[in-house]
């Protein structure tokens, strides 16, 4: 058994888990954060993406024990209270989701993508960067649109805050 301690969505959590427990299973089963999904077993689909110390990580590729000491943000912790994160809002406005299963991972990956590209994004870059996230419903058309819109909105928001 491994003792793990981490901060998840601003809350400090501690538990003793089987050594083989993956981070995704720890989040889902121990913490009941079921917004993070498991869509495959080869780390291809990206439905389980969360932020570990500020970076997008597939939580099925990491043991809970490896994440001990880290700060984790899941889809449940992305919005600030009732106010949606701009990426969440853009996915809704641009119909970037249908069944919703890949959506948490998409949104967490997109948030990180936008953070890593402060210079802004274009369609080609977004499509390339989504390589690790599979969606079967949308054909990606509206996901790409939503991410581009969120990137613009966040840049404008950042400028507004700076000014």
């Amino acid at each position: 058994m491994s003792d793990v301690v981490m901060t998840v969505n601003g809350r400090k959590v501690a538990a003793s888990v089987e050594d083989r427990t993956l981070l995704v299973h720890f989040l889902r089963e121990n913490l009941n954060l079921t917004g993070t999904h498991v869509g495959c077993d080869t780390s291809q689909c990206g439905a389980c993406v969360v932020h570990v110390d500020g970076k997008a990580v597939k939580s099925c590729t990491m043991l809970a024990a490896q994440a001990s000491g880290s700060t984790i943000v899941t889809i449940e912790g992305l919005a600030e209270g009732a106010e949606l994160h701009p990426v969440q809002a853009a996915f809704r406005e641009h119909h970037g989701l249908q069944c919703g299963f890949c959506t948490p991972g998409m949104i967490m990956a997109a948030t990180d993508m936008i953070r890593r590209h402060p210079e802004g994004l274009d369609e080609k870059t977004v499509r390339h960067e989504l390589e690790g996230n599979i969606c079967r419903c949308t054909g990606y058309h509206n996901i790409v649109k939503a991410i581009l819109a969120a990137s613009k909105a966040m840049a404008a928001g950042g400028e507004a805050k700076a000014a």
């Binding site: 079921t34 495959c40 080869t42 291809q44 449940e76 992305l78 599979i134 419903c137 054909g139 509206n142």
Partner: protein
């Protein structure tokens, strides 16, 4: 059109939970005392089971029990069935082999379930499953349908001699042969429609809870049609009588057909919960999904299309072999028959058609409906043949199609269907304009200067949706009626619940169905809740597939709304001392036309429930139910154009543009409809360029059983799509809806392959057209 009514691009109500992690899928459900199940599956494609030793597995940590097929049979659990009867042309019924939910004596494909292990954790169940010792006596396997028909091929089921399930025909063989005999030109094609794995992103799952005190079972499962699941599990699998079985399909992460069917796992989990006395949850891992979700397509056809000297089609002869896999899945028999051959007339006036279809067992995963189900196979065949014919005849592909379009409606085809409405030239024109078809030769020249091969291809699809009326499908062999049911409950404060037998697994019903209510009563969509997916809440339902939720499901709601409106108007007339016929509903109020008298909607609802002042003899309350059975299939149609650029050095194909021009009849929410088209096209491009289920012919192992091996379309495989609508309302239902869920997957594959073959100058190209295949086809064409 109001802000939230029919035709408005309303953002989806259900999105809030999905974008905040609040979706509730089957795997998210937890019950007190719940245990986890893992299935022991056959590693062989074909083998006799000589013995199963579960002793060591039962002693593993955390194990509750290990159960086998013999125990399942002893408890009277029934075999899985196919619910659509097809008769061969000699009049004999289809030959259905026995499919035990857990194999007893024989396994017939890799992944066939043999035993279930129930343990405290999934990890423990998995560990124990590895300790179950199954002694197999391996047999030869057969993977390819045509091989399975040959003398001496391995035999799967004693019921089906030579692995032949049925040998069925549709149409007039004599008239078709006569047309071929007098043809000025015949285009012949060998058409392969590649096997696909549906790959809904949420793997299948089931959580069963047997309540001993009540002798009642609840099953949460990833279903597109929970009522059908309850019906079939009650009537055929002996799980429990319907009044003792509740099936709940909560949020479901995509279906595409694969979650219509009742699979072994949910049946076994229900039985195992009763047997062990604990709630049992099973969730497929992705490889299990690849192995055991019903696959799609897998047709091989020989085609002859006959033209007269004026390039009019005079006959179409088709001979198809359909691979059914190891067992007949729930609706498998309907797919290559009444959902396929009935669409072989395409958008064209063809006087004589004959189709022969042989359905065949092989040692592969069962095959059933996958997005489009039969109609993609028909469309691919017809539209590849049309494009090829145009090349052979030296005429424009667009003009050859236009010349043969059906232009008068209703149009009776020689293959059952009667097309009710459409304007095929309108979609063709719109697509050609959007794609700048006329400018293509210049673009091809420009690409050539850059060393690239540019091609353009089109596809003019038609499909049949709704899968109704019940009497018609019943006469064709369906074991169920295909109507839909709805209930509209107006609460005392005026908020509304709509209970529907349709099921949303991504289609946005919670929004579009609420828009329908808003249109009628002016109630904001936030005051309207759509309830679905629970057999204890919704009276009855046939579920969502065949693009039927709009045309059939919403029509049932319209019928219930009609009844609510009629009663509301009676009450309003009584309250305002007016004539019922003078009452109109506007902006959330019931008004007496031409006066300033009005009653707000919520007040009317309250009056219905206080019942202090109702018309004499009227029952209190404002709640109505309806069942709706359509008068005909609906016939969405459209034109898709794909333009590609191929790198001759690598065979890599880039889609430069993809244009869709669709006729879906009336549209409730264009944003959602466009989303359906995008997703369908992506799956069609996936089929044509990326996806394919491949078995090792010798061992019967599924080689493409993970996302490392099966090429799912990624964002950078696809372009953005240009989508438009040219709508002719459907005369067959009150909303004029045709349906939009499958069109993209039906219409796109032939457009893509027509484009690539145009680019490379070789018409001999299999799907998926991978760079390797395209490169080889270029080099064959050169030499």
């Amino acid at each position: 059109m109001g802000m939230e009514g029919i035709g408005a691009r309303v953002a989806r109500k259900e999105d809030k939970r999905f974008i905040t992690g609040g979706g509730r899928y089957t795997d998210d459900m937890v019950l007190p005392g719940m245990k986890h199940a893992v299935f022991v599956r056959s590693p062989h494609a074909h083998a006799d089971i000589k013995g199963i030793d579960v002793a060591e597995a039962k002693d593993m940590p955390g194990v509750v029990d290990v159960l086998t097929g013999r125990q399942l049979k002893a408890d009277g659990v029934g075999n899985l069935i196919c619910g659509w009867m097809i008769h061969s042309k000699d009049g004999s019924p289809m030959k259905m082999g026995a499919w035990s939910p857990l194999a007893v004596d024989r396994v017939r494909y890799v992944g066939d379930a043999v035993a279930i292990v129930v343990a405290d954790t999934k990890g423990q169940a998995r560990d124990a499953a590895e300790k179950v010792v199954v002694e197999y006596d391996e047999k030869d396997a057969v993977i390819v349908a045509a091989e399975a028909l040959k003398p001496g091929a391995p035999q799967l089921h004693p019921e089906a001699e030579n692995n032949l399930i049925f040998d069925w025909e549709l149409g007039d063989a004599k008239a078709t042969d006569e047309a071929l005999a007098k043809a000025a030109h015949i285009t012949k094609m060998h058409i392969v429609n590649n096997r696909l794995v549906p790959n809904a992103m949420e793997p299948r799952a089931a959580l069963a809870h047997y309540d001993k005190a009540e002798d009642h079972t609840t099953c949460w499962t990833t279903s597109q049609n929970p009522h059908v699941a309850r019906l079939v599990m009650s009537a055929f699998y002996n799980i429990a009588p319907e009044n003792k079985l509740r099936v709940i399909a909560p949020d479901v992460g995509g279906g595409f057909g694969s979650k219509i069917f009742i699979y072994p796992e949910e049946v076994v989990c229900c039985w195992a919960s009763k047997k062990t006395g604990v709630p049992v949850k099973w969730v497929a891992d992705r490889t299990e999904s690849f192995l055991t979700d019903a696959h799609g397509r897998d047709h091989v056809s020989e085609v002859q299309m006959a033209f007269d000297a004026d390039n009019r089609i005079i006959g179409l002869k088709v001979d198809t072999i359909a691979n059914f896999g190891a067992y007949m899945s729930l609706f498998s028999s309907s797919v290559p028959t009444y959902l396929y051959a009935t669409l072989l007339s395409g958008q064209y006036a063809i006087p004589a058609i004959h189709a022969n279809v042989r359905a065949v067992y092989t040692n592969t995963s069962p095959v059933d409906a996958y997005r489009g189900a039969g109609r993609p196979e028909a469309t691919y065949l017809v539209e590849r043949t049309m494009e090829t014919a145009a090349r052979e005849l030296g005429v424009s592909p667009a003009e050859l199609r236009r010349k043969n379009f059906v232009t008068q409606f209703p149009h009776q085809t020689p293959v059952i269907m009667c097309y009710d409405a459409g304007d095929y030239a309108a979609s063709l024109d719109a697509a050609m304009q959007a794609a700048d078809y006329a400018g293509f030769p210049a673009r091809r020249e420009e690409a050539k200067r850059r060393g690239k091969l540019r091609g353009i291809g089109m596809s003019n699809y038609i499909e049949a949706c709704g899968i109704a009326p019940s009497a018609a499908v019943g006469s064709l062999g369906a074991g169920v009626g295909l109507w839909e049911s709805a209930e509209v409950r107006v609460n005392a404060v005026g908020t509304i619940e709509v209970l529907t037998g349709s099921h949303s697994h991504g289609q946005g019903h919670e929004t579009t169905f609420a828009q329908l209510v808003n249109q009628r009563f002016g109630v904001p969509i936030d005051s309207v809740s759509i309830v679905h997916g629970d057999t204890d809440k919704v009276q009855m339902g046939m579920g969502t597939y065949g693009s039927r939720s709009g045309a059939v499901g919403m029509s049932a709601i319209v019928k219930a709304l009609d009844k609510v409106e009629a009663k509301a108007k009676k009450i309003a007339a009584h309250l305002m001392e007016a004539d019922e016929s003078d009452i109109v509903i506007e902006n959330g109020e019931l008004k007496v036309a031409g006066t300033d008298k009005s009653v707000p909607w919520f007040q009317l609802a309250l009056a219905a429930y206080t019942a202090h002042n109702l018309p004499a003899g009227m029952e209190p309350g404002l709640k109505e139910t309806a069942f709706y059975d359509p008068s005909n299939f609906t016939f969405p149609a459209g034109c898709y154009i794909c333009e590609v650029e191929v790198d001759p050095d690598t065979g890599v194909t880039e889609i430069i543009q993809f244009v869709a021009a669709d006729d879906f009849g009336n549209i409730i929410n264009p944003m959602i409809v466009e989303g359906q088209v995008h997703g369908g096209i992506a799956q069609g491009i996936g089929q044509s360029m990326l996806e394919g289920a491949h078995y090792d012919a010798g061992s019967g192992q599924l080689i493409t059983a993970s996302y490392m091996d099966y090429c799912m379309p990624r964002a950078d495989d696809l372009p953005s799509f240009q989508v438009s609508h040219q709508n002719t309302p459907c005369p067959g239902n009150p909303l004029g809806i045709k349906g939009c869920g499958e069109a993209g997957a039906i219409g796109s594959p032939p457009a893509v392959i027509n484009a690539i073959t145009d680019a490379i100058g070789n018409n001999d190209l299999l799907m998926p057209a991978t760079p390797e295949r395209v490169w080889a086809a270029i080099h064959v064409a050169k030499h």
